[in-house]
Subunit: 300 residues, 2 copies
Amino acid sequence: MELRHLHYAVAVAEELHFGRAADRLHVAQPSLSRQVRQLEHDLGVELFKRTSRRVELTPAGAAFVHAARRTLAAASDSRVAAVQAASGVRGRATLGFVASAAVEVLPRVVAVHRAERPLVQLSLREMTTEEQVPQLLDGEIDVGLGRDLEPTDDLQVQTLQREPLLAAVPHDHVLRHRRRIRLAELERSPFVTLPRDRVPRAWDKLLVMSRAAGLTPHFAQEANQFVTLLALVAAGLGVAIVPDSVRTLRHEHVHYLRLNDPGAWSEVTVAVRAGETQPVARDLHRLVSAAATAPPPRAT
Amino acid sequence: MELRHLHYAVAVAEELHFGRAADRLHVAQPSLSRQVRQLEHDLGVELFKRTSRRVELTPAGAAFVHAARRTLAAASDSRVAAVQAASGVRGRATLGFVASAAVEVLPRVVAVHRAERPLVQLSLREMTTEEQVPQLLDGEIDVGLGRDLEPTDDLQVQTLQREPLLAAVPHDHVLRHRRRIRLAELERSPFVTLPRDRVPRAWDKLLVMSRAAGLTPHFAQEANQFVTLLALVAAGLGVAIVPDSVRTLRHEHVHYLRLNDPGAWSEVTVAVRAGETQPVARDLHRLVSAAATAPPPRAT
DNA sequence: TTGATCGATACGCTTGGAGCATCGATTCCA
DNA sequence: TGGAATCGATGCTCCAAGCGTATCGATCAA
């Protein structure tokens, strides 16, 4: 039994006439008759009652043709599924992202992706920029949304937006009425930070800036998430250095002060394997880049 | 694209090895390689990434194989559906029945049929015995459950059970305390009946019996259903002659008296086209016969 | 009775799927 | 580092089988 036999049986069932069915199938009538007969022999079942004047379906024929239509539809779906998957219309894509990008960029990316590629299932995995690099190379994730990542031979990296760094201070901090400060002015304040082993490059940047400002930072406490970090600031345990977009997480007892130090910037970057060929990954990369730049960044 | 290609692609996807897949399919490895390649060319899509050391699925290949499995299952279902329909395990059967058989025989038939042929959809059509004959010959119904039908060349008829005829009389009728009466004793009572044009043979039998009893019947009222008929009796409009099984329809104000006249019997008959070949019809006929005789008839 | 219609059959051609032998690339191991 | 083993691809040949043309036989209408 081949798909050809199913096509033939369905055509005969629809025309109830071997000649017309053969025309529709662009084959000669004897070929059609032979193939249908062969199908019946293979099944061991009579599908059509034929006289030289009339063709009609047997109950078995009706049951078979019904199922055959479903089979042919499934075969057609198989073809479509393959083509769509190859073109990137259908499939699965995995996006790694840092927590600080989840606030602003990520929701826009998800919305745009769902609108443009409704058949592509988007998996989201929160992870640090450092974790993204090996997972990109292993194929664990297709695109990485991180911070301050430098391109390499294996990774293509673009900057999406450049944000100033802010100091998040408690509402009773002495500098709370200032709009802009310099890091050196925080000499008396301990820092609350994300864990050093999870975000080593953010730590390094803070250390470099501190040294440039002639400051020896005192680290009071670590927190795993930004929300917790801000709660610690609000509780008066110290100050935190965060990128501008974290401001979206408004907190009643936290004030944000812009840092004027040189290098007090953080870039949101998007990374993809260099020479990526998979359409779902290329599409996701394209949409992430577009979604980040399309709406104008908030005024600072 | 043929089912062969789908089988081949699925096998390669499962083995991820052309040699082993070819063994499993009982073909030579070069044939398998060529067919898979031909499938890819037909689809315009690469399904497998192959080196001389490793074979892996592309995303398009994974999508295709998933759909191909469903297609192959549908093809297998088509075969099964045809065989089952031909053997009578699956299909549709239509049973015509008279209202007076609906009370006792029909529920048993439906229950047994559902248990023995769960995949055969049983259609039930209430109709008179007279209507069953042409509909059997036209194929509108497969089996007819009627009364007092005589076999012909075209119809095979069996008797399922033989019931005495009863007179249904109102609760204040003068004969109400009798167990058995003769039709002649109803001379003073008008008759309520089913419509003459719907059940001509039942009418004829009543007329023949009346003549034999020296009775000139007076017809008071017609009703389309037994329930209505009994309601008319209960209301005192007259008496009705009904087969024994109608007694199952108990009615508070109706008494049943057995008729002692010769020929005061009615037979429940089952009819099927002579030489019927369709298994669903033959099965239904067999089950109707069995269901009617299996439980012992009620004592009268 | 005759002609038209329609599915089945006969026959020869051609396609294409299969097997065998072999190639080229890659990997493993000594 | 070189040789052997593994594995998919390719070239060649064979033949099964699908197809088309011509025709038959049965049925039905005029």
